[in-house]
Symmetry: C2
Subunit: 254 residues, 2 copies
DNA sequence: CGTTAGTTTGAAAGAATTCAATGTTGGTGG
DNA sequence: CCACCAACATTGAATTCTTTCAAACTAACG
């Protein structure tokens, strides 16, 4: 069932990833599972493809919005800049995640998006997608779920920024990465940070020094092992307790 | 052009608000402007209606998701509760705004939503809406814009929580209310806060005492006038400068 | 008129930042 | 191959901002 459609030459599907949705490794993350083969191929036809080198822009705030992007390979960061020139990273995106949804309303991109790795994206022309969507109910609903998910994941950040202390924020951040990697079949306890300490700090509303101190503290407590950008979570349950604010240190005798 | 459709008796359209989209005062906020009369009436037919008393729940986190809600009258707050029982208000909603979009993905509501005023909502059964949407391209696109707008407005909060100091946060909060009221034809400089100081603090990641101090400070500086929940912005430009982090006090001589 | 919920104010404590210095890594060119 | 540089990261000390704790105040309501 994984052979390439006949319209595609064999060289085009060489490499670790195919350019076709039906054989893409992100299939279950990106596409509705109940889409039939025919509809999947119709979708294939409208989807383009692009490579972004490390530190390259996928798009910039203010760019006209024409397409959504699905991360096929690699990692991205999205940030907004305010009038004073301060930046706020609003999210990190990894394989299978959608970029550009925030631009639909104004037809202009709202963020700068930069690749943290050499990366690849699927280009999804939005007008075409909407036309297709109207004819394919499962895809319609799936697309709404994706947008809804985006809202939910931003609410998570609001929760982190709004009522967690520094240590909890960082714990929540690690746990979020952990579950994302787990969902993609990678180890939930060992992974590489794709972003600098500065990016992490910015994202979590903390300074780079605070991040550094938190890493040292958690390392000393045997919670994590960190070597540069390599992270190993040594005590996942305790990390979860920490992030959930269940203050194990303050258990009162009665 | 504003007479009620014949299927509706005259008593039903009495009062300040009609139950029909075509004559609803929120028309331009809620509906696509390029929807024809016939399509508007099809939409009318699926939309229900409900009153929520002050402090009443519109829905609770975990409730099964069946419908979206559009605020027709009044104000709401949405908040999430974490495992430790801490709450985080993720947004305040006023007339014309949509509630429940975050529930599409999981089919369960993600927030508790409470009315701050005696309020009224339109009930929009989601399955029916999706079916209708697929047949009405302008409505399809409009719905996507609404979801996109929700994403954008959450990014605003992330920006506030992620890199503003207390004073800027509160300034940004007031300005946000100001522009919302302006958009609805009310005064941008005089309005009533519908939420308690505690709610404001929670929303902005600050304590109630901090909010209180900020109000006092801004009052002393002639920026605002506050009498209980009545707010008057006395110096809008300066408030904007403050929120934008343009530090007028720190202009260096050379 | 007293009670209550919500708000304001003050003083002390705590959390995170700022500033400054030092350490580490990886790349580049001599 | 090594020395040096630049970018990134860590650590310490002082400062700043915000919270916490405590008390007093205010308006609304029965």
């Amino acid at each position: 069932m994984d052979f390439p459609p006949k319209s595609v030459t064999s060289t085009e599907v060489l490499g670790t990833q195919s350019r076709n949705c039906s054989v893409c490794s992100q299939h279950q993350l990106c596409l509705p599972t109940d889409l039939n083969e025919c509809d999947t191929q119709r979708l294939d036809k409208i989807i383009g493809w692009r490579k972004i080198p490390r530190d390259g822009f996928l798009y910039r705030a203010g760019d006209p919005f024409t397409s959504l992007y699905a991360v096929r390979l690699g990692h991205f960061k999205s940030y907004q800049e305010n009038l004073a020139g301060d930046r706020q990273i609003t999210g990190f995106q990894m394989t299978g995640e959608m970029l550009g949804l925030d631009a639909i309303n104004s037809a202009q991109h709202q963020c700068d998006v930069i690749a943290l790795d050499d990366s690849e994206v699927c280009i999804i022309p939005f007008k075409t997608l909407e036309a297709l969507i109207a004819q394919m109910p499962p895809l319609l609903h799936h697309f709404h779920r994706i947008m809804s998910q985006e809202i939910t994941s931003e609410q998570k950040i609001i929760n982190i920024l709004g009522n967690m202390r520094a240590e909890q924020r960082f714990a929540a951040f690690l746990l979020n990465l952990s579950s994302h990697y787990a969902k993609r079949g990678y180890s939930p306890t060992q992974f590489q940070l794709r972003m600098s300490r500065e990016d992490i700090g910015n994202y979590l509303g903390l300074t780079i020094e605070s991040i550094s101190r938190l890493i040292s503290k958690m390392r000393n407590e045997g919670l994590i092992r960190v070597q540069q950008r390599n992270v190993e979570i040594l005590d996942l349950p305790r990390l979860k307790k920490l992030a959930a604010d269940i203050d194990t240190l303050n258990i009162k005798p009665f």
